[in-house]
Subunit: 152 residues, 2 copies
Amino acid sequence: MVSGPVSASKEKLRLWIRLLRASRTIEGELRERLSTEFDTTLPRFDVMAALYRVPDGMLMSDLSRFLLVSNGNVTGIVDRLVSEGLVQRGQRNGDRRTSIVQLTKAGKDTFRTMAAAHERWVGELLAGVTKSDAKQLTSMLKAFRSNWEGRE
Amino acid sequence: MVSGPVSASKEKLRLWIRLLRASRTIEGELRERLSTEFDTTLPRFDVMAALYRVPDGMLMSDLSRFLLVSNGNVTGIVDRLVSEGLVQRGQRNGDRRTSIVQLTKAGKDTFRTMAAAHERWVGELLAGVTKSDAKQLTSMLKAFRSNWEGRE
DNA sequence: ATATGAAGCTTTATACTTAAAGGGTATATC
DNA sequence: GATATACCCTTTAAGTATAAAGCTTCATAT
């Protein structure tokens, strides 16, 4: 077979490229809408979304692990959210190393509004994906993650 | 239905989150390996990959459209690639506005080496995805893109 | 020829991102 | 209770990213 079956790695490369392009397209749209509609950014939204799930707050290091971004990165984003009055820092026990971060009242209120719009946007952006495809894709990607997570 | 079936938009939100996390995980790994193995970065690799497909080169604006990044961004990345001797700028016809960018001989050679490793890495990272899943995911994502592309 | 507008790229200001280094704090071990 | 070690966060330097403004050049129409 001359131009025979595509190798497994080629198939995976193709998958990766499509995954990346889909991601970037969606990210770009969300970024733009967050900017025009709410005068905020995707990283800030992501931090707020992470915090909203956890009323008691998170450590900076938890936040960076959860969001899959570097430690130092989170510092700057939280700084800005604090100066906007959406997030506050505190301490846990008496431990002066730690910095527990949580949404303020204003932060929660703001987030609820944004989250509703955000969910609607994602729904629109993925309008072409059927519900059963969505479920299937989700579980395939979940399999990827859990397969990967044990490593490094 | 009170806590009935998960709404379509929730299902899509979940999909988006998984998509993003998979993307970030893979991107992070590739970034790190490109850095340690070849002392380069993912954006530079992406530019080189785009150029490698097109021996005659691309306009800066084509490059930014293709890579889904902003115009000004490409300028800086290409600047660095030029200073590394991997890429060169030229002009098309007599048009002094345009800047045709293409890989140099050294750029092509370097890219071939990196691309082989890159394909191998992606294969490893997606080791848990079966070939038929890969095909199916790819075509679903393709459907998303073509559904989206006509817009804006 | 000249004005108008569009095309193509770079520059600017601001923000995000990483890796690595740095500094303070807690915990374990002796 | 001194020392070592690990933990947690911030700072730094370099690079990437965007949007918007700016510049030059080309094409078109007058």
